[in-house]
Amino acid sequence: MFHLEYDVLVIGGGIAGQETALNLADMGFKVIMIEKEPSIGGKMILLSKVFPTLDCASCIATPKMSETMRHENIEVLSYSEVTSIERIDKKFKVKILKKPKYVREDLCTGCQECEANCPVNVEDQFNFGLVGRRAVYIPFSTAIPKTAVIDIENCILCGVCERVCPANAIDFTQEPECYTLKVKAVVLATGFNLFPARRKPQYGFGKFPNVMDAMEMDRLLSPTRPYNAVVRPLDGKIPENIAYVLCTGSRDVSVGNPICSQICCMYSIKQAQLLMGALPLADITIYYIDIRAFGKGFEEFYQQAKDMGVQFVKGKVAKIEEIKETGNLIVRYEDMEGSGGVKEAEHDLVVLSVGMLANTGITSIFKYEDLELDEYNYVKQADALLSPAKTNLKGVFAAGTATGPKDIPDSILSAGAASAEVAAYIRSLK
């Protein structure tokens, strides 16, 4: 049940937030989790399989999501945002805005009858615009809570959903709700943003349909795949010759992101392996600067991809151009290892391996104090070596990619660390 006082506020319901909340809840602390999307799950739940074990992301994420949702010590508020956090003595006063879903979560059974009848079509943000969705929708089949939400901005108020809902769950009278509650500690598990590939106009993303970003490719490969096949977004053709452009938006001063995103090499290698399974006849070329296969089992995974026949070309991609007639793409790159110089290659699909950017916008919620960020806008670690979860604000901790790029195993470990530090901090208050 909903209370007005909790031990810990976890902001963000991605994998790091879930792991932190579950750890703390298992220790007996009362946790409230705030997620801005209609479902928890973050980015991981949208992925296909995850390196280096090739477990399907859903198989790891869904049970954790479900455990988070039903744990007796965790309260989850989805489609909600923290609007302000104010320190009062040893506690924090937290204000939360719950956006109206216009669907009663207690009544909705997730039958999707409303979705089947809604006439509206808008781009599906959970499929990154590869397909459409309705104005009333369940975010994805593994969503938790699995209840519908009405996107009121795009709704034409035709009323069909309300007429067909067998559970009488549609409720247009809902208003935004504000809550004020008290917590002893705050965990920022706010995750990251994907680098918007449009910021590299020379790669033609958004202009050439067959240039896609890696998140879109992961959707095409996932169990909830929007095309039910790996085909080109231009014409539905099965690609034969796919290129990956690593470091799109990472290690790149020209876009203001000089750091490495830590995950792109590995997810590209993973996708390449999955593509070889899905399209046994396709050629796959990965244009890279350095292959950063640094984690446990990663190097072996990289070698495995090489053995499977994935081509690795050390080269910086300068420009991508489209051949009008075929929709194929000419990749112009600086060949760093072969005979040198600028070379061109034709591919029928190009995947941009976009990096991570800091999720800004959490700084403004702190009242009367400033959350310190590092020069790349990630939450600054106050004691990076010995207390990695601490921020400059006492009682405020960070987990997952809030403090910098991380892969899933590292995010899980950082969530473990955050929960340990929160537990010790709360005990110290007594």
Binding site: I144, L385, L413
Partner: protein, 646 residues
């Protein structure tokens, strides 16, 4: 016997259904005896499927469920909890593995994979029909933890655990805490000094009276089970008494006539028989290396009260609820002649260079000669094409680059060459690489099949490398030092492996259960792993894992009680004729003779029984069985696997 069974066949979003015809499986098993409901589901583990199962169980009054999906290692507990939430006993659930052991293993033969799935599911149904509800064994736990390994990870975990209120035993094999971190000097990316960090941790530790430090201590044996382990430790004598004022230690050390290789400085210097690893090593008390001591008596003369050469090796028994292994790594030791190592005295390892930097005053000198040019050769002992270490050691690229930045800051005239394969300065460490390029470091990329060659020419070291970035042009350098950037290998602690029976992976590091789901847990319940014993890591990453292990340990022990799996042996008192064979084979003393109504029979102590089943095959009268693995269940499974598929 169960008569109202529900069966769920999972698509696993294609992982199973791409190869196994799940609908055919469902149709083939739906009329099996005892089955009242059979369904397919896209993701059995999803919340909505779980809810559906619960309402199915309640509405259809099911007395057990079978889920055919992935390996039980992943989701056995997920579905046991589903059964429990619906009012069933968690053991009235059987998981059938049709993914790892069917759809994936036989993705080349979909038709056969489907047939196998049908037989496996049928076996699961037969097993469930015979299953009995089992109640967990609740035990009280010891609220103390042993942290094995007193490096940075172990020290950090100890502090965190102490703060949650547990009693902590921090056990270190050497006489000094700190592990490898103090050997490094300044650390990336904050440039804090390793020895200072260890000092900080040590000061935090001694502030807490619920941490007991054991130095010079090794684990001898380990027994018991999660919640109540018994550790036997052996404490080596230090021969120096604590708590005695003595201001003469420096003089004593100076006067000590013994000189042996200093292991802390990788043999670059000598130390005495009375020694500290480094000046501010903790505990702040020297130790006597008795093996090398000449017993000259100088120390006792100068400080008679501070020494006790009658100290004997001590043994101690500790009771703990859980164990965290933070036993760390060893730096890879290149073999003789590997890039000229130990043959050419200009060739050293990165670890040695760091000690030289720490020990030198004024200019950087090696063997009396000033060092102006250094060639770093990367991936020595890592990413080996042939050889044991196929893995990447993760920290070495950044460590080498950071070293070259430190060198430039101190000795602006030094020129560094980096002979690398891929530069792996991931995340924010990339900035260090940029800075190194900016300061003029030279990077040469070599092919894994054509590594650089170090030639020995009249005491000169000539390094030849074919640079991939300039069309394989052969480049020759003659540096004053060749630094081998060596990787991490698991610490040679076969004793620890043997004693704790923690499995190791392909890379010989300790193996976690699952890198994402349970990264600090091992197959031995209550034994956790953290730090570089689990795999190469830098300091921050080691601390993240040690804090994670602390969190998991606290969750395990915080409630004071623990529910143990009820998978234990039980005796059919009618059949038992007490011959004692079962008691004899049992390693855990879990079986005793008891007189029941004038008849001697075997009785199982459930708190001690581990459920291994060793007693089952030795019983002539077939009177002893394991719960959950009874004769009826196994025979049922065999029948289910063999009957023809209709």
């Amino acid at each position: 016997m169960k008569e109202r069974i529900g069966v769920y066949i999972c698509y696993c979003g294609g992982n199973i259904s791409d190869y196994v015809n799940v609908n055919k499986v469902k149709d083939s098993v739906k009329d099996e005896d005892g089955v009242v409901l059979a369904k397919t589901t896209v993701f059995a583990c999803s919340d909505s499927s779980q809810k559906e199962m619960i309402s199915d169980i309640i509405e259809n009054k099911l007395d057990g469920i079978v889920v055919a999906s992935c390996s039980p290692k992943l989701h056995l507990h997920t579905f046991r909890s589903v059964a429990e939430r619906a009012g069933l006993n968690p053991y009235e659930y059987v998981q059938v593995n049709i993914r790892e052991q069917d759809s994936w293993a036989h993705s080349d033969k979909p038709e056969e994979a489907t047939e196998k799935a049908i037989r496996l599911v049928r076996a699961g149904i037969r097993r469930l029909r015979e299953a009995q509800p089992l109640l967990p064994n609740e035990i009280s736990v010891t609220d103390s933890v042993a942290v094995i390994g007193g490096g940075a990870s172990g020290m950090r975990a100890a502090i965190e655990l102490a703060d949650t209120g547990l009693e902590v035993y921090l056990i270190e094999k050497e006489h000094f805490l700190g592990g490898r971190i103090p050997q490094w000097g300044e650390l990336f990316e904050t440039n804090e000094r390793g020895d200072i960090l260890i000092e900080k941790l040590y000061n935090e530790i001694i502030k807490r009276n619920n941490i007991k430090i054991f130095t010079g201590t090794e684990v001898e044996s380990f027994s018991g089970c999660v919640g109540n382990f018994n550790l036997e430790v052996k404490i080596k004598p230090r021969y120096v008494k604590s708590g005695i004022e003595c201001n003469e230690f420096e003089k004593i050390e100076e006067g000590c006539p013994v000189e042996v290789d200093d292991e802390f400085n990788f043999g670059l210097t000598k130390r005495k028989a009375i020694y500290k690893f480094y000046k501010n090593a903790y505990p702040d008390l020297p130790a006597v290396d008795f093996e090398n001591c000449t017993k000259c008596g100088l120390c006792e003369k100068l400080c008679p009260d501070a020494f006790d050469f009658n100290q004997k090796e001590e043994k101690l028994a500790l009771k703990v609820g859980a164990v965290i292994l933070t036993t760390g790594f060893s730096p890879y030791e290149p073999s003789e002649g590997e890039y000229g190592y130990k043959k050419n005295d200009k060739v050293i390892t990165l670890q040695q260079l760091r000690r030289i930097m720490e020990l030198s005053n004024g200019n950087l000198k090696w063997k009396g000669k000033e060092v102006k040019e250094i060639a770093f050769i990367y991936c020595v002992g890592s990413r080996q094409k042939s050889g044991e270490n196929k893995y990447c050691s993760r920290y070495c690229c950044t460590a080498a680059i950071h070293t070259s930045l430190l060198l430039k800051k101190k000795y602006p005239y030094i020129r560094s060459y980096h002979l690398f394969r891929d530069i792996r300065t991931y995340g924010k460490q990339e900035i260090l690489y940029r800075d190194s390029c900016k300061q003029g470091d030279i990077y040469l990329k070599f092919d894994e099949n054509e590594p650089p060659v170090v030639e020995d020419l009249n005491n000169r070291a000539i390094v030849k490398v074919k640079d991939l970035l300039t069309e394989r042009e052969e480049i020759e350098i003659e540096p004053d030092l060749v630094v081998l950037v060596t990787g991490m290998i698991p610490r040679k602690n076969s004793e620890i492996e043997r004693i704790f029976k923690v499995p190791v992976g392909r890379d010989n590091f300790f193996n976690e259960i699952h890198p994402k789901l349970r990264p600090v847990e091992t197959v031995i319940d209550g034994v956790f792993i953290a730090g570089t014993g689990q795999g190469p890591k830098n300091l921050t990453e080691s601390i993240l894992s040690s804090l994670s292990a602390a969190a998991k340990t606290y969750s395990l022990l915080s409630s004071g009680t623990l529910k143990l799996e009820p998978i234990v042996a039980f005796v059919d008192s009618e059949r038992c004729k007490w011959c004692g064979d079962c008691a004899e084979v049992c390693l855990y003393d879990a079986i005793e003779k008891e007189n029941q109504d004038g008849k001697e029979i075997a009785v199982v102590n459930e708190a001690l029984c581990k459920g291994c089943g060793s007693c089952v095959p030795v019983c002539e009268s077939r009177a002893i069985e394991i719960k959950g693995y009874t004769n009826k269940e196994i025979i049922g499974m065999i029948d289910g696997m063999l009957e023809e598929v209709r």
